[in-house]
């Protein structure tokens, strides 16, 4: 079994076992053995068809960039909510909604999923659909200028810069 074929098994096993530890919350020997058996069975059954984990890059540096992405995401989420709260509480709701297109350079499925999720939770944008490398975004306060590069730099570039650290 070479490296490329055993990788999804190991990844699925690691994720399942981590989830087991978090859900059971105990480090007793019985629980650990049961967790190893269950997550091993799950990874053997499903890992071949799980193509979503292919894009992950696993190095020590990617872990740090994952943490930096999470921090950036949290800050953006809080900013988005204060922005939205201001819009909701003002008497005449100041919105000019439009649906625009954004180009992404993420290659893997997981990267596009996380990018779309991040776009949904950032200020005034909601990702509607993904077609190949274009993401349809509903923008609650669309400016006058509307071209693809401008939208991409405004909406997606910040997240892509952080996501590139641990995803293809």
């Amino acid at each position: 079994m070479n490296d490329t074929s055993s990788r999804p098994y190991f990844l699925t096993f690691a994720i399942c076992f981590l989830l087991w530890l978090l859900l059971s919350g105990s480090f007793k020997t019985d629980d650990l053995i049961a967790g190893v058996i269950v997550s091993g069975a799950v990874s053997i059954m499903t890992a071949r068809r799980l193509s979503i984990l292919n894009g992950l890059i696993i190095t020590p540096g990617s872990f740090i960039s994952l943490l930096r992405y999470l921090w950036y995401f949290l800050v953006e989420l809080i900013k988005a909510n204060f922005d939205l709260a201001g819009r909701i509480l003002s008497r005449k709701i100041p919105i000019t909604p439009a649906i625009v297109e954004v180009q992404t350079s993420m290659q893997s499925e997981l990267g596009r999923l996380l990018l779309a999720n991040s776009i949904t939770l950032t200020p005034g944008t909601l990702s509607v659909d993904i077609v190949e490398d274009r993401i349809l975004v509903h923008w609650i306060d669309c400016p006058d200028r509307l071209d693809l590069e401008y939208n991409t730099t405004r909406i997606a570039k910040g997240f892509e810069r952080h996501l590139k650290g641990f995803l293809k």
């Binding site: 909701i88 919105i95 439009a98 779309a116 006058d144």
Partner: protein, 119 residues
């Protein structure tokens, strides 16, 4: 400890309240999805963090629930928005498109739509 927990709980409840208020006040379906998903998600995060400060021995399960909400709430709202978009639910004013935009007519339509909404 209790004070920090109360602060997080109150902030989370405020954001959930604002999300529901946006659900009432926003003029069309897509904007309602925006208000509903963002504010309610952050509000749930705040409440779970508050409970985590109140009962620090529960942190692992609260982390699982937080990660789950953070992953699935945008996915479900995106799925709903995509379904509406494909099924052809009309937007507030549809002159803003992916390729073109006419600011003046959209402003006019905005006013008429707002009057329709308030009347």
């Amino acid at each position: 400890m209790r004070l920090i927990a109360d602060l997080f709980l109150l902030t989370g409840a405020m954001f959930i309240f604002l999300g529901a208020l946006g659900l009432i006040r926003m003029p069309d379906v897509y904007n309602r999805i925006q208000a509903g998903t963002k504010a309610v998600t952050l509000g749930a995060m705040g409440i779970l963090t508050g409970i985590g400060f109140m009962y620090p021995q529960w942190w692992y399960k609260l982390v699982v629930i937080m990660g789950f909400i953070l992953l699935t709430s945008p996915v479900s709202s995106s799925a709903i928005a995509r379904a509406f978009y494909i099924a052809g639910v009309k937007r507030w004013h549809s002159s803003n498109d992916a390729t073109q935009k006419n600011k003046n007519t959209s402003k006019a339509q905005e006013k008429t739509a707002l009057q329709k909404e308030t009347s």
